[in-house]
């Protein structure tokens, strides 16, 4: 059964045609969030974004590597074969991360030690490879730049939120300053704490999708990247496709009603066939009765020329007063009239 595409999917298609910054930002940062929806680049998020400061330092390097790699790909690397481009993205990452480490060694030596071997690992960010291959290779430099900024924003937002939550509840601090939490849950600073936090963040995002587009949220629940529905183990399982009836659903024309309407429209054409006159006499009689009733109804709302002249002669105020007095309860005011 062919599923109807959600409105967000349509937005995704449209943005490739007319890439306005807002739609690009909405699509890359929220709808296709690299971490919470596409599960890309989890290592830095779960392992090192344990404080707000480290998260911001990581965000800066993410922006730099994303922009540099995507712009370079869109401008120079399009003609290279795909298998060599992958290696070049890594070299791009290295070209940014190595000087950044020198910079950090001078300005933030303590944070540099805290980041440990995870900072060099940012040289290899699957998000860069994905975005370069998916977008930058096929687009202009401008579009690649916008895409890099928007996807890096989505990634950085998750990094910073994770860092903030872990610092508050895991260390009882904000930006290194103590806040009065007596027993901070130090476990949150471990990678499993990171997984728990991004798990809840993914739930929050799903809840948001449910509000703006329930169908997309439903599709994510069934056909998410982590779904194994298409795998050989689970071919026949369709039980998960239940839709909660209490949830607000997007308006769709009821197909069964549409079919009935079509049938009714087709009926008169079938019934006037000459060969079927004898068999369908009762139905023809019914149709005649119906058409007579309709004609009678139409007569009721017809005006004679005299009535029209009388109506025309009445002033507009009289007509309004007359109708409002007679049918006061039936008038639908619609929007409220603003008070003067």
């Amino acid at each position: 059964m062919r599923k109807q595409k959600s409105s967000i999917d349509k937005v995704v298609k449209k943005e490739s045609e007319a890439s306005s910054f807002k739609t690009e930002m909405f699509t890359e940062a929220i709808v296709q969030n690299p971490v919470l929806v596409s599960t890309i680049g989890l290592c830095p998020v779960v392992a090192i974004s344990t404080t707000l400061k480290s998260a911001i330092l990581l965000s800066v390097i993410t922006y730099l590597t994303m922009i540099f790699s995507q712009v370079l790909t869109a401008s120079l690397l399009k003609k290279f074969p795909q298998w060599t481009r992958v290696a070049l993205y890594t070299l791009c990452g290295m070209a940014i991360v190595a000087p950044y480490m020198l910079f950090m060694q001078k300005l933030f030596p303590e944070d540099m030690i805290a980041l440990g071997i995870y900072l060099p690992l940012l040289t290899i960010n699957p998000l860069i490879t994905r975005q370069c291959e998916r977008v930058a290779v096929k687009s202009t430099v401008k579009h690649a730049f916008v895409n890099a900024v928007s996807s890096a924003s989505g990634y950085s937002a998750v990094l910073i939120m994770t860092g903030l939550v872990r610092e508050i509840f895991g260390s009882g601090k904000i930006w290194g300053y103590n806040i009065f939490i007596n027993h901070p849950a130090t476990a949150l600073t471990n990678p499993f704490g990171g997984f728990i936090i991004i798990g809840f963040m993914a739930v929050a995002l799903r809840w948001y999708f449910k509000k703006i587009d329930p169908q997309y949220a439903e599709e994510l629940a069934i056909h998410s990247r982590t779904s194994i529905k298409k795998s050989r183990y689970n071919k026949d399982k369709t039980s998960n496709e239940k839709i909660d009836e209490n949830e607000p659903q997007r308006f769709e024309p009821n197909k069964e009603i549409e079919k009935d309407i079509d049938k009714k429209e087709e009926k008169p054409e079938l019934e006037i066939k000459e060969n079927q006159v004898v068999d369908q006499e009762p139905e023809i009689e019914k149709n005649q009765e119906i058409s007579e009733k309709v004609a009678a109804e139409n007569k009721k709302i017809e005006f004679t020329s005299q009535e029209l002249e009388e109506l025309m002669s009445k002033s507009l105020d009289d007509i309004i007063n007359g109708t409002t007095n007679e049918n006061q309860n039936d008038v639908d005011l619609g929007e409220e009239v603003p008070e003067k």
Partner: protein
């Protein structure tokens, strides 16, 4: 004998005591994505093991050169990245040469090369040389760590895949948690267990 002991101790430590995927989060995104497509697991696991072992060994050998002994972290990044890139390019060229007259379709070749690229440029592969350097592993230990990283990845992927199957078939999971969020929670529980093996204090 001591060489074998060193090799196995490093491998077992990386696999069980400090499973890189769960305890360190290395290669976790690739593990999740591979677990969702189990058909690719065998090829991907072999490639990850191959790249992690070869890169680990080469980086260790380079680091034995006296000039590098006093080198700082920035030089380590440049060296390890270049080693990984060279290993990948040589492997890709070998794949292309081997498949030249084999009758494989271009699409299949591209898919294989793409797979090689994803498995080579992966945090779990790239992390091993840095761990070797930090812990000062010997050559047999470096090889053990490389193989151990690949095996750790396979174990992690299989565990995640099993969890995904259970999550997929469970209708009692709230809709908002289904899919990615539930998988994150499941990995968190597994990671908690593996962190427990390493002797760290989990709470407070």
């Amino acid at each position: 004998m001591s060489v074998i002991v060193q090799f196995f101790s490093a491998a077992l430590y990386i696999i069980f005591v400090q499973n890189l995927v769960f305890s360190g989060g290395y290669g976790s995104s690739e593990a999740i994505r591979t677990a969702a497509r189990p058909r690719q697991l065998a090829l991907f696991a072999v490639m990850v093991t191959y790249f992690s072992t070869v890169t680990s060994l080469l980086c260790k050998l380079i680091w034995l050169i006296p000039i590098f002994k006093t080198a700082d972290a920035t030089i380590a990044i440049v060296t390890f990245t270049l080693v990984l890139v060279v290993v990948y390019l040589i492997t890709a060229l070998l794949i292309l040469k081997t498949l030249k007259g084999s009758g494989w379709k271009q699409e299949e070749k591209d898919r294989l090369l793409r797979q090689a690229g994803v498995s080579a440029f992966n945090t779990i592969v790239f992390a091993v040389p840095f761990i070797n350097q930090r812990v000062a592993y010997t050559v047999p230990e470096a090889i053990g760590a490389g193989i151990g990283a690949g095996v750790a990845f396979i174990i992690a992927t299989m565990l995640i895949h099993e969890g995904m199957k259970k999550i997929e078939s469970n209708n009692e999971i709230p809709n908002c948690f289904k899919g990615t969020p539930a998988v994150f929670m499941y990995i968190a529980i597994l990671a908690m267990a593996f962190t427990g093996f390493s002797g760290k204090s989990l709470f407070f």
